[in-house]
Amino acid sequence: MILTPLLIAWVMAVILALLDGRRIWVGWLAIGAMAGVFLTTLRLTIRVIEHGSLEIVAGGWPLGLGITLRADALGTVFALVSSGVLLVALIYEVLAGVHERAMPALTLFLATGLTGLFFTGDAFNFYVFFEITMTASFVLTTYGQREREMRAALIFMVVNLLGSSLFLSAIASLYHLTGTLDMRALTAIAGSLEQNSVTFTSILIFVAFCIKLGLFPFHFWLPPVYRDSWPAVAAILSGAVANVGSYGLLRFGGMILERELQLNGGALIALGAASILYGAVQAVSVRTVGEALAYSAIGQAGYILLALGIGGPVGIGAAILFALINSINKTLLFLTTGLNGWLVGAAFAIGAFSVAGVPPSLGFFGKVALFQIGITAQNTLLLVIIFLGSALSFIYMFQIYQRAHWAVDHPEQPSRRPSRLLVLGVGILIIALGLWPEPLLLLSQRATDLVIGTP
């Protein structure tokens, strides 16, 4: 039951790798497989909400001895949003015409890696699926095969290989300190270990996930990669792969290394604030749409870290909700960059409202949660920073809208209708979720209870 999404994704990825992805029927077969992954993940989410976590141990070994695969509220909600993002991006690319034979197979391999990552309960198995995800995304970044994409892929790859090596060293030192790799056992033991050695490990894990998420001092790989890669690929990277960073910070920081997270909350808040301001200020003064969205992604990642730094039920809840909303927003925004037409402009405007936090779009609830943590922490400076970041994001989003969609000197031919309708559909989904946010709020509340409620 847990493994159905993984099974579908992996087997279909291998079958699609043998076929030519440029043909229409292969593209639609890939869309069918991805829809299968999304629907089975949805069914699993409903089951987890009603009955609690599910787990099985690979190989039939006893618990704690074998590799545990666990579907709990935190993992399933992230897996649901990520597979939704991948589905939308794949439909977009197939409608626009795939021009490399391996692209649908690569998207399904990426789905395999992400599904395995969100559903595993073993730290080293997390690393293995993390590497599968990153390998598929490295190859996807080269989609298009011109100079810019290759350069972006090279930068992406070198920086992230370094991050992965740091993460692996951290897992090895965790094993040395605790003698186990199972996440539940680690959570039980990590609180009672000697502090100095665990601090080193937690710094390495923090740096590795911040590189992935694109936070301020570790963000230098992000603008070239998001700007120069194909729109669908940029949507996948910002909407699905960046989720690995937020999920990792929540799982390893919020659950396993909880004491370290609380002790170093001040540093996290400082880094988050720096990231918000840096991203917002840089986004106001850029040349291309892709670059502005990349700096916007850096800014939004700062909000997640700010929420994590404050911690507690309110902080963790805001972090989870904001991470999910951000990935949906970024998907919509990156997909609109490749299309023309006033419908596309409307969809971009909806995405812009969502990033700025204006009701009735979904982003409003994310911003409400963030302001709530500022009020709970009773810190005026935090509220000022959050407000400043939101105001600046409003400015740069509408600057882009004005220059790219509204006051255009040479309006071009509108793009093909199915693509435009797809993008508008995602925009309407954002408004619909903004008017009826109960499911998303319930999911994030359950995930928060899971993260906070561990002893």
């Binding site: 493994l3 087997v11 043998l18 099985i56 690979a58 190989g59 039939g60």
Partner: protein, 160 residues
Amino acid sequence: MTTMTRAIAKMLLLPIFIVSVAILVKGYTSVGDGFGAGIIATLGVLLQYTALGSAEAHKLPLVAVAPRLGLIGLIIALSVAFTPLLRGQPIMTHFPPPGASVLHFGTIEILTAVAFDIGVFLLVFGFAVGTIDLIALAHDERIAQQGADSLEQQIKDEDR
């Protein structure tokens, strides 16, 4: 490359394969596994590429079929991992389970874990040999392209 290097390289291909299969098989009682076996088999093919040149090495029957071999290996490994799900058992439960009696073929044991290892061997060999082949082909194309460009340049200079 001298004649002796080429002759020895050709002779070494089959013994290298036999060593790699031996490492694959002896992994259940002493040191060895599918990944190391795949790497050693790849090294045998790489020796052919460096000693004989890519044009001749490309004609080896194994090299042409290598990427598909890799995907077949992945399919074998995935089916060994996921078939227990159909019987209601967790993923990657091996048959026969630990502690039960095992069928022997000489001293080799017949387990699903052996099939998994063979899948990994094929995967590593197919992936690595496919990559080497592609890089060699691209390199040859580039050299041919540079030769054609410089020839064009020469003709243009002569015309002037």
